[in-house]
Subunit: 511 residues, 2 copies
């Protein structure tokens, strides 16, 4: 006889789910003990729950399978939810194991008790485990739910007694879900629409590979359509890959990107909408009279659909993109353009880039085609604090690749504890901390709201100065070596050194 | 004509609510701008939402009135919920202002959109604001709800358009709620019960003042009852005040504290229950055959009820407690006892102590009657990460008092960003960071679960070493001066120096 916790982990392992980002408490002690009886599950401690949930996101975006996130009751799990929101909006499979009060203790409303299931409903699929004998099959159900169709977070609420009670030692059938295939007649309809002139092909979802970008370029060449990305959580980019522009963040620029489009073929979640609502600006950015054709959604196999669509429009063979002009070397003071050039020049071959640079990334994003081939992960949910945890998880998933993390200062502070886990796990991460001493995006939004001269209170709530954050000191406090760069030359040298050094390094780039 | 945001703040100010702990985003820009048009509201920026919500808790526990917490949409507000859970379990009034997508933008399900109201229902009273003209009266309703009866968090979900749309310039009637008075006949019934022999008087709730402790001592002297605290969120303690023991944390010790009690008179929330459920241990800790008499709940005026009860039992006048033996000076290596002695010896007169020491506080809690008079704040909810934010808020509320913060290392890392706000605001806080390099409470719980020799995975999830956290470096990274102590003599010297230095200081105590 085993206990419920042991059968839970054995079931996960049978599915190939073998990493557990954990921040346990008392009600998870049977789970923690079981990890020593189930060899093959790697536990990674996070000092804050949002580190674990962000790491689950980064892990799955590289490994293409879920990790486990292990949390303590409602008031612990709630700290994981911001990055689970990002996972949900990125269609990232994640399996959450949330210990809860023992079933017979819950009615006593002890201090840490709460409605954990209500929190789980906020972010996706969930199930309350009713007995130790059901824990293994519920784990199998959660793994399937996280990976089926669109994919996303799946949460088990696990009363402590179901983890320590005896459970039958049988592992249930367990496996990943799948995406749907788009029927051929709909592909043919879309092919005709693309050929109708003034058309756009808008692709997003969990992953746009280099092959998918190449198919988009082939389809564009055959039909004259405008290829665009929209809410693509993961992208294969860099030299030798077709550069497909993103629909921009601000609504005016987004509208310009699709101005004149009369037919939009969509392979993503819905049609493009603005991130926020602004007075007198439409919430959708396609032209009002544009025909929308939703060819595939995020629960569909978008890669296969693109390939079928290329065939349907009679696209020619894939050709390499035109070689971009070489980038001039970055020199002098750091700004978003020189920062971008350094990152493009120093990107290691086959790196993973976690892009959480907010406004600081704007330069680099114009020159991704100049960097060595890399995979870029972004959090589509917009919840702040994704970057460092995502980089941690990506690095656990890809021990043979360098993970670059372009991280803004404001966002970094929500989940700064991730640095400690990077040091403990010795992962090969180069963090470029873009420190502009402000919430720059908010100052831009204040300006949009008509506040050209913010008063002292508005400044107090958008400046990160007085005192300045010293990210080198923060990193060293968590065991991560760090240095500071104030010029492009210094940044180039520091990033090159970091990339050549095993383990994590933080380079603070003062903008 | 004003806008909704301006009328919201004017209404708060009319109630005497004049501090706003904020972590705004784009949907709060009209609120941020309005703060420059409503002089008298002090904005305090937190770099993480849990800093703001914990600060609201600490502020109200000292100021006896709510502060405002300002958050960005569901995925930002969700980060505030752990410390709002603590506020809820401590009956602490808090008013949350959560910007949401503009009402007409919400249906488009933009990336940051979510069911914000669902999150608010998890933690207490809430209201969705339907128009700019309602925002002021809804603010008044939230202030009343937060302060009425038991008190707790009250949340307004505020669509961005209701903050920037025009609103009538009238301030509605606004004021705090009240607690109920316990009827005299119930007090008389309890008086008789206390006189029946083998009785206990169990008092808790938001605040147990020195006067309430003195009344408990008077009642005990008159009736022979056993006076006990249970879940008292704030306590006035120290020299010259009656020491009333707490019902201990672990169930066996809690049962011993009430063994033999045949009648329990309760002035708190329900009867004592264990923090967690353990196999074969009852969830309630009073003897099974003990008669329970719930005299007052947390929505009642417990202070007045105690005073009435003292009259009803014919208690004599208040007498000072017996003088405790003097504490020997702490010397040699630091452990929880010598740490406690240093804190007791160095406590400034009339200080506020935020106690988030978890296991490290166990020594000090046996000697609180040896320290100069102080007010102790604890988070009754058990959600980790309360200490540093609570100290920030307490210090904003009490600029003329020194705030001491006894903080454990593990818990500190959940909301470490609070140090930056302490530095920015220049608050007089002495943080004693008790660094034992582990989640000690979890290692104790593992032991309770029968794991006497934790395996490598259980150790990996409960040790905070490899690398060790360097809290001095972390503090300096956020602008807080810091030093390290490894002996009682060093700690005494460092705490004395910190207490004599304006602004925040962190002293890392290596256990």
């Amino acid at each position: 006889m085993a206990d419920g916790a042991e059968m839970m982990f054995r079931t996960a392992l049978a599915a190939g789910v073998d990493v557990c980002f954990a921040n346990p408490g008392t009600t998870e002690m049977a789970m923690v003990a079981a990890l020593d009886r189930v060899p093959g599950i790697r536990p990674v401690l996070g000092l804050f729950e949002g580190v674990c949930s962000g790491a689950c996101h980064g892990y799955a975006r590289v490994a293409d399978r879920p990790a486990l996130g292990l949390y303590h009751l409602g008031p612990g799990y709630v700290n994981a939810l911001a990055n689970l929101h990002n996972a949900r909006r990125s269609f990232t499979p994640v399996v959450n194991l949330v210990g809860d009060q023992a079933s017979w203790h819950l009615p006593y409303d002890a201090p840490l008790s709460s409605d954990t299931t209500k929190l789980a409903t906020w972010v996706g699929w969930h199930r309350h485990v009713n007995s130790a004998s059901r824990l293994a099959s519920d784990t199998a159900a959660a793994i399937h739910a996280a990976t089926d169709g669109a994919g996303g977070p799946a949460t088990l609420v696990i009363p402590a007694d179901t983890t320590w009670d005896d459970a039958p030692p049988e592992i249930p059938e367990v496996g990943f879900g799948s995406r749907r295939t788009v029927p051929a007649d709909r592909v043919m309809e879309a092919a005709a629409a693309l050929r109708s002139g003034d058309s756009a092909l808008i692709v997003g979802g969990p992953l746009v590979t280099a092959e998918m970008a190449a198919d988009m370029a082939r389809i564009a060449a055959a039909t004259g359509c405008r290829p665009l990305r929209y809410r693509a959580a993961t992208n294969e980019l860099g030299l030798g890959r077709h550069f497909i522009p993103d629909i921009p963040y601000f609504p005016e620029a987004a509208a310009r990107a699709t101005a004149g489009v009369r037919t939009a073929v969509l392979l993503t979640e819905g049609e493009p909408v603005t991130f926020f609502g602004y007075p007198d600006i439409p919430s959708t950015t396609l032209p009002a009279d544009c025909r929308r054709l939703q060819l595939a959604g995020v629960a569909d196999d978008i890669a296969r659909c693109l390939s079928d669509l290329a065939d349907a429009v009679g696209a020619g063979p894939a050709t390499p993109p035109p070689a971009p002009d070489p980038l001039p070397a970055a020199t002098g003071p750091l700004d978003i353009m020189s920062l971008g050039r350094v990152l493009a020049a120093e990107m290691p071959e086959n790196a993973v880039l976690v892009q959480d640079g907010i406004t600081s990334a704007a330069g680099f994003l114009t020159m991704t085609d100049r960097a060595a081939p890399f995979r870029m992960i972004q959090a589509m949910g917009g919840a702040i604090g994704a970057g460092l945890p995502t980089a941690l998880g990506a690095a656990i998933a890809a021990p043979d690749r360098r993970v670059m993390c372009l991280q803004s200062d404001g966002s970094a502070m929500y989940t700064i504890q991730a640095l400690w886990s990077m040091a403990r796990e010795g992962v090969d991460v180069t963090v470029i901390m873009a420190n502009n001493h402000r919430y720059n995006i908010l100052q831009m939004e204040l300006h949009r709201a008509g506040i050209d001269q913010p008063g002292p209170n508005a400044l107090a709530l958008t400046e990160l100065s007085n005192p300045d954050l010293d990210f080198c000191s923060l990193a060293r406090g968590m065991g991560v070596p760090a240095s500071r760069a104030t010029t492009a030359e210094e940044l180039t040298e520091a990033v090159a050194r970091a990339n050549a050094t095993p383990g994590p390094t933080l380079v603070e780039a003062i903008l």
